[in-house]
Every structure is written in structure tokens, then in C-alpha cells.
């Protein structure tokens, strides 16, 4: 029982972080219909920025993280302005290609600045003392990371569903032209969306970084893992993203623990294929409204 609890809760903790990273993808997809393939590299933006502030400028942890958030927000704005805005009104595929290009470019830039080796934070960004619960014990970073992820997730959801700007974002997600006719500045909405997306990716990156370190090769793989999560939850659904994140996390951890650690990697994709067979729009994806 204890081992099960161990695997189950580790899965939940991991899953929360998948969900957090996934919400960035969902926001961008909702607003502009673009799938953000650069998400893996965007994890590195926050992770490396924090590292640079800690290591090179020797700033305290809280300030480094805060400044990293600022950097992430700026990167979000720059991506919107330079990569996706010029492609408004162009086929979605062009924007997707541009993001893939961005991803490759970022990888090059990171390799150039930070080198190919794995680095870890010189100070504890998140408390590392393990947390124990009825015989099972969990990584401290992961537990704190999970709590942060849930809080951030909650804030984003509240903003999206309860605030005026969130309403404008949902309107923009549905119909760009109509949104403009209603007086919404669609460009501002896109800019805000990108800012939010890179911010959550940065938070995810920092959490992961503080647990396992940062590397230009393995950190982005986590972003790749989030792709099945959001597809599984339904690309437009924030709720779906959360549920799918947890399910993928739990199953992955249990399969890895009981069956074979090598199967962990393919578990998310196996679930994805199975779900898409029965629900092509994902668990909570938007069904097309057809009036009969």
C-alpha cells in the first residue's frame, strides 16, 4: 500500500506541473489557434534566467526569480511582436513553422550562452527537505512546486473566467473579426496571452530546474511531454488540461513503478492514442456548435 501511495502521490505532484506548463499552450491555442511548439525552449527561458541571476550576479533567490519573471514576460512580448504578429491572417501552418524555427534558434542561443552541460542552482530555489506522509516520502522541491503550480493554475483560471480581460480573451478566441468589431484590441490580447504563456512556462522551468537541474537537451523534453497532456485534455480546455495533467502524471508514475521504468516515456502517448480514438476532441475539448 505504501508503495502505491508513493507512486500515486508522486504522479499527482508531477502531473500538477505538467498541467501548469500545459495551460500556456491552451491559452495560446485558444487565443490564436496556434500550437506553441516552442514550449520546450520556453521552459529554459525562466530556468536559465534564474540561474544566471543567481550564479553570475549572485542575487538572492527571491530577486532572481522575480527578475526571471520579468525576463519571461518580455520574451513573451517579443515573440508576439516579432514572430506571431506579422503572421496574423496568414495560414496557421506558417505560424507553427515560425515557432519551430524560434525553438531551434533559442536552443542555439542557450547552447551558446550557457553551454551544453547540465547546471543546477547554486542555492535552494525551493526547499529541498523531503516531505513524508504515512510512510511514503516525497521530494520537497516537487511538493512545493506542485503547490505553486496549483496556485498559479488557479490564478490563471480565475483571470480567464472571472475578469474583464479574460472575457475579452475568450471572445477573441472565438472570432477575431467580431472581437475587433466589438472594440477589443486583438493585438493587445495576443500580447497578453503570450506574456502569460511564457510566464507559466518559466515558472514550470524553474520548478523542474530546482529539482533535477537545467540542461539544454533534457529540460525541453518535458515540454514535449506536455503536448500529449493538452491534446488529451482537449486543446481549448483549461479544466481538461488540469485533469489530463494529473491523469498522465499518475499513470506514468504507476506504470513506471510497477511495470517497467522504460515504459514511463511512452505511457502518455499510449493514453493519448486511446483517448483520441473515442473522443477526437479530447476529454473536455470544444465540440463544434451545430444548430439543426
Amino acid at each position: 500500500m505504501d508503495t502505491f501511495l508513493q507512486f500515486f502521490i508522486s504522479g499527482i505532484l508531477n502531473g500538477g506541473i505538467y498541467a501548469l506548463i500545459g495551460i500556456g499552450l491552451v491559452l495560446i491555442f485558444k487565443a490564436s489557434g496556434i500550437f506553441n511548439f516552442a514550449v520546450g525552449q520556453l521552459l529554459l527561458v525562466g530556468a536559465f534566467a534564474t540561474w544566471a541571476f543567481l550564479k553570475w550576479l549572485e542575487l538572492p533567490v527571491w530577486l532572481s526569480v522575480l527578475l526571471a519573471m520579468v525576463v519571461a514576460a518580455l520574451v513573451g512580448l517579443i515573440i508576439e511582436r516579432l514572430v506571431t504578429r506579422p503572421l496574423i491572417g496568414q495560414p496557421v501552418l506558417s505560424a507553427v513553422m515560425a515557432l519551430l524555427a524560434l525553438s531551434v534558434m533559442l536552443k542555439g542561443v542557450f547552447a551558446f550562452i550557457f553551454g551544453p552541460a547540465t547546471v543546477s542552482y547554486p542555492a535552494d530555489v525551493l526547499p529541498g527537505t523531503p516531505v513524508s506522509l504515512s510512510g511514503a516520502s516525497f521530494s520537497g522541491e516537487l511538493t512545493w512546486g506542485f503547490l505553486i503550480a496549483v496556485i498559479v493554475f488557479g490564478i490563471v483560471t480565475l483571470l480567464f473566467y472571472r475578469s474583464r480581460i479574460g472575457l475579452a480573451m475568450r471572445g477573441t478566441a472565438e472570432d477575431h473579426q467580431l472581437a475587433q468589431a466589438t472594440g477589443i484590441n486583438v493585438k493587445h490580447i495576443f500580447a497578453i496571452t503570450w506574456m502569460a504563456a511564457v510566464l507559466v512556462a518559466a515558472i514550470g522551468g524553474i520548478i523542474i530546474g530546482s529539482k533535477v537541474g537545467i540542461g539544454i537537451h533534457f529540460t525541453p523534453l518535458l515540454g514535449v511531454k506536455v503536448i500529449p497532456v493538452v491534446l488529451f485534455g482537449g486543446l481549448e480546455s483549461i479544466k481538461g488540461c488540469f485533469v489530463a495533467g494529473l491523469i498522465v502524471g499518475i499513470l506514468e508514475s504507476i506504470v513506471g513503478g510497477y511495470v517497467d521504468p522504460n515504459l514511463m516515456v511512452i505511457t502518455p502517448y499510449a493514453i493519448l492514442l486511446l483517448v483520441l480514438l473515442f473522443r477526437p476532441y479530447g476529454l473536455f475539448g470544444q465540440k463544434r456548435i451545430e444548430r439543426i
Partner: protein
Amino acid sequence: MLELKNIEVMYQNVIYVLKGVSLSVDEGEIVALLGANGAGKTTTLKAISGLLKTEQGDVTRGRIEFMGKKIDHMSPEGIVKMGIVQVMEGQRLFKHLSVDENLRLGAYVRGNRGEVAKDLDMVFNYFPKLKELRNRTSGYLSGGERQMLVVGRALMAHPKFMLLDEPSLGLAPFLVKEIFEILKRINADEGTSILLVEQNAFAALSLAQRGYVMEDGKIVLDGLAQELRENEDIKEFYFGLSSIGQRKSYKGVKHYRRRKRWLA
């Protein structure tokens, strides 16, 4: 209040749609813009509201003035802020949002949260049915309800000027009558000027004070609604009546169309 001075519109720098259109609407006036399919009515509205730019169209010549200010190069959202709201053709709504959220988005441009509740009451006063439907997903409303919703959403912005693109499209005759009655009340109570594009010329001319007739990107006829209603050509081409004023008998229809006086 609104004045179009000899404007020309091109799409993608090639397709020449409006070939010098001039019209004006005074404060508190309802003006009808009539014409066959493809005459350029919708394009005229989009030129005013700035939505042309979202479709790679441009005002290449002439100027559009609203309350003395040139607006033809402003962004659509800037134009909405000035008080011009276009209700687009085909009852376009945010399908996945509820009726309530659709209306609230209409008030987005004003940014004033405190007054939203009051404005919702105002809209529900004009369209009591929307109040019952408040929490429904708007995509599942019927045609008439959708039309009420899009007009209600436009009202939430407190427009000084409304551009209505075929509000009668796809509605049963009694609904058209109801909607037009409400438009008349809005015009009278809120003082909103209206530029109305319609295929249903008869309904439009009974609501409007003045009218313009467009053909092939030009204004070919204008005058008071009363005059237009009695114009022989309008009667024949838009009302389907013969010159004697009776319903046309298809037995006696000649195989050529009567020459239009306004052929340019």
C-alpha cells in the same frame, strides 16, 4: 454627423469595389442603404467601421468624417471607441459564450464596470426575451433571438451611431416587424443614428427617413424615404410592383427589363 465624401475602396489593391460613394447621415436620423447583391453596401459599412482592414481592403480615395473628425485610417477598435458600432451580417456572435457574456463583451470598450448592470437592464428592457435566456450558450439560440442578441450587444457600447447589416436576414416576417419596431424605439429613446443596409427595401423604407440606392459601387439614387417608396423604378425593381401599383402579373411580363433611368 457622418459623412462619406466620394470614397473609393479596393480589396488587395486590385479589386475595385466602391467607385466614389458619397452619403451623409445626420444626428438622430435613420438612413437606409439599398441595392442588389454585390452593389457594395456591406463594403460601405465596413469602410465606415474600419473592418475593411481586417479583410485587406482599403479606402484609397475620399474621406470619411464622423463628427468632424477623419476616421478612415483608424483601427476598428478605435472607431468603436468613437461611438460607431457595426452589427455585422448573419447574426455573428461569440457562440461558445453565454448570452450574458456576449452582452458584457459589448460593453468592453467602455471599460466602466459600474454601469454594466444598468446597461444590461436597458437591453433587457428592449429585449425582454434575452433576460430569460441569460445563461444560455448563445450558439444554440434561434435566429430571432440571435438578432436580438447582436443588436443588444451593440447597444451595450452606447453607440452614437449604429451600422446595421441586414437585420432582417433569415427572419420570419413577424420577427422582422418586431426587430424594426425596437430599432425605431432605440432611435427615438437613445437618439442613436442608424445606417441600415437592407435587401428588404419595403421594410427599410418604412423605418428610415431617407434612403440611398446603390448599384455597382455607386450611389445611383437618393431621397426621402417617402419619395423613394413612390419612385417607379424602386417599385418595380425592389417591391416587385408594376407601374400601376399592383402586384405584377407574370403572364404579362416582357422578356426584357425596363431600362433603368439611372444607368450610368
